[in-house]
């Protein structure tokens, strides 16, 4: 079994990072042996789509459980589609979080713990300048699509993730189209 924990530094003594998609590192731990692998989260500074891309990366590592501080709807949906349990509200040191999970003190969530775009730095400036439609559009244009689907996923997991992505993109497209209509009517 593998547990992924969002972390502020690459070791078991690091603190749990409260963000999922934009955390600095992931520590992937075998809870039986406490052997671990530290992963740099290349999506931490992504312009958009960090939650989904990070969730895909985690799914590709064969992880069964994610421990983190908070998890937004896009990441949560992608992780759930891959059959990964998500536990939020976790804080403190990584090794203590693993011990708490092993002791049955941490339970998986049935839903995301925060809204979209939690943990994005500088969100206010971007949102105000470009308007609602722009902000959302920028969030989804990056790092998505079937080309980057991790190879370790089963066919069923990949289909589930793709369907969930298609649904989210469809919603974003509707919002952009609504905003376009609003702007065009206003001319």
């Amino acid at each position: 079994m593998k547990i992924a924990v969002s972390a502020t530094a690459p070791g078991l003594d690091a603190e749990v990072d409260p963000r999922f998609g934009r955390c600095q590192y992931f520590i992937i731990v075998d809870p039986q042996t406490m052997e671990f692998e530290a992963l740099d989260n290349s999506n931490a500074m992504a312009a958009g789509g960090a939650g989904i891309s990070t969730a895909q990366m985690i799914a590709s590592k064969g992880v069964e459980v994610v421990l983190t501080g908070n998890c937004g709807p896009n990441a949560y949906q992608t992780l759930s589609a891959a059959g990964i349990q998500v536990v939020t509200g976790v804080s403190g040191k990584i090794k203590d979080a693993i011990e708490a999970y092993k002791a049955g003190k941490l339970q998986p969530n049935a839903q995301p713990s925060v809204g979209s775009h939690y943990g994005m730095g500088g969100g206010t400036g971007m949102g105000r300048g470009m308007g609602r439609g722009m902000g959302r559009g920028m969030g989804m244009g990056v790092g998505m699509g079937p080309g980057i689907m991790p190879e370790a996923l089963s066919q069923e997991q990949e289909i589930a993730i793709l369907k969930s992505q298609a649904q989210m993109l469809g919603q974003q497209l509707n919002e952009i189209q609504r905003r376009l209509e609003e702007m065009e009517k206003g001319s």
């Binding site: 400036g125 559009g137 244009g141 298609a166 993109l169």
Partner: protein, 43 residues
Amino acid sequence: MGTDPFAPQMTREQELDFLRNQAEAIKEELDQIDGRIKELETE
């Protein structure tokens, strides 16, 4: 919150262009995803 003096300013036309480009990019992405889903479902 208040006004952010460092927020990027865009004209209405720029925003419209951006939104149209985004819509186009998302449609392409959706087509790719649909194609991949069909591919996987027929495997």
